[in-house]
Symmetry: C2
Subunit: 295 residues, 2 copies
């Protein structure tokens, strides 16, 4: 085992830096997942790095994940003569800040639903994005559990069947890729409190899981998620075909966690990188046999 | 002129989303600038998206740019029963937040100096990174003046001569690229209050500019900056050769601003993209003639 996780001071804060090998492998993985989305017809977009807290509140984010939430605010220079930084605590006291109107996203797809709010969409809309995401945790561990990390998502917005097929298709794709990588993954139902805790949708979620994770050992490195028409309703995204609220679902890849899993499995950055290159060549060849040459 | 800036609601907040054409062109530009760094020997790295406020304070950031500063904090769930979001203001009041221990970076290179703190470096160290940067402004304009934007930097750390040569080399490189792009750029001295306002270094800065910007019309799209041994001293980065503090300098590219300049100059995403591809082919060919084949 020649890999060590980045041994820099940022790691204990959940904010490590990545060296050249990790930077390149993360990019290769992200390009791979993005290309799956594009091949399926997704528009590659770039979402804002901060979102209005009011929008996230409207999506129940602060009710469902208050313990994970991180918000952003400018310094309040009217109330303070100086910048008010406290060297004893290493912090700005909260009364040195303006009210916080912006939130750091915890998942890449929130911004996609907000970007489509008030819009009519085709039944088979797909979007793919990669964003920095932020979750406060009780402890951090480099590449496995970070305060800031990157999440590539391929998001379906449209008809109910489109949202369902999206997850079926990409579940198969993730499993085929893992097999080509010789990376044993376990698929498990998981629970995200996306919906009102007491409501009928929460009951439905307990009966029919809305999230499945793909785990390497104990580490979830990808997930497929269905939200029914929750985001379609909250963001007023309607179908051009029927005028009804859009259904949404997403496939998410925790990119730093893929680095952790692949280096643990293959023993070095070089071997992990080669495994991804080989798996890409192999799965691309398989897709060509199944669907004709890829252009 | 077929280009419009992204007409989404995030634009007025300085946080627009980018569509597929802009996403692809930004990536092409970033790859181009990164490749210049790599060709010169830079290590491509990834820096944390948030930095300790204490570290930024130690670099005088909150003294020099308090009006631009944005900080991050978790919700204080001990003090509040609920998440305390105020729907009237669309904000979390500041007393609903924990003290802010983290800052959003305003430039990509701060993290690089902090990442090297306490280290000994070779005389000719080069690092390249691309990070989201954040600056509060009094108004925003899509792709020209954003609250959140991306900055590719190529950073020199090492001997005084290395830091100086870095800027000379990349000034020539930026100018040759601009010429190949048929993008008329003006080079102007600019002023950044990096150093104590009253100190001798500030006086020196007024006498010898430490920052030059490259402007298209009225828009600065790149800059070259020298910091003498300021960051070397503050971050205790020393030279292996002499044991003295490292000198630093950086070349910075405001990527969204390049999108603005190129689409304005060339009239469409397609033409702007083709111009970059052609310029890359041309400048690469010139480099081959000058330095032999590029491997």
């Amino acid at each position: 085992m020649t890999v060590t996780t980045p041994a820099n001071v940022g790691e204990t804060r959940g904010l490590p830096s990545l060296g050249p090998e990790a930077t390149a492998l993360l990019r290769l993985l992200d390009d791979t997942f993005e290309s799956w989305g594009v091949a399926a017809g997704a528009r590659p977009m770039t979402m804002p790095p901060l979102l209005p807290a009011a929008d996230l509140a409207r999506l129940d984010y602060y009710d469902n994940f208050p313990h994970q939430a991180v918000v952003a605010a400018p310094l309040d220079l009217e109330r303070r003569e100086s910048s008010a930084f406290c060297t004893d605590t290493g912090c700005f006291p909260c009364d040195a800040l303006e009210p916080a109107a912006l939130g750091l996203p915890s998942a890449s797809c929130y911004a996609v639903y907000l970007d489509h709010q008030g819009q009519q969409v085709a039944d088979d809309t797909l979007v793919t994005v990669c964003s920095w995401c932020f979750r406060k945790e009780t402890h951090y561990e480099g590449m496995r559990r970070q305060l800031g990390f990157r999440m590539r998502e391929i998001v379906a917005i449209g008809a109910r069947e489109h949202a369902e097929t999206h997850l079926t298709d990409f579940t198969a794709r993730v499993q085929a890729f893992a097999e080509a990588l010789d990376l044993p993954l376990r698929r498990e139902a998981a629970c995200d409190p996306f919906f009102d805790k007491g409501g009928s949708k929460a009951l439905l979620q307990r009966l029919t899981p809305v999230k499945h994770e793909f785990l390497y050992e104990d580490l979830a490195i990808a997930s497929v998620n269905t939200h029914r028409n929750f985001f379609g309703e909250r963001c007023d995204i309607t179908l051009t075909s029927s005028g009804g609220p859009a259904f949404t679902s997403c496939v998410a890849f925790g990119l730093e966690r893929w680095l952790s899993a692949l280096t643990r499995r293959h023993g070095s950055w070089e071997a992990a990188t080669q495994a991804v290159l080989d798996a890409n060549a192999r799965t691309r060849a398989d897709a060509s046999v199944a669907a004709g040459p890829v252009i």
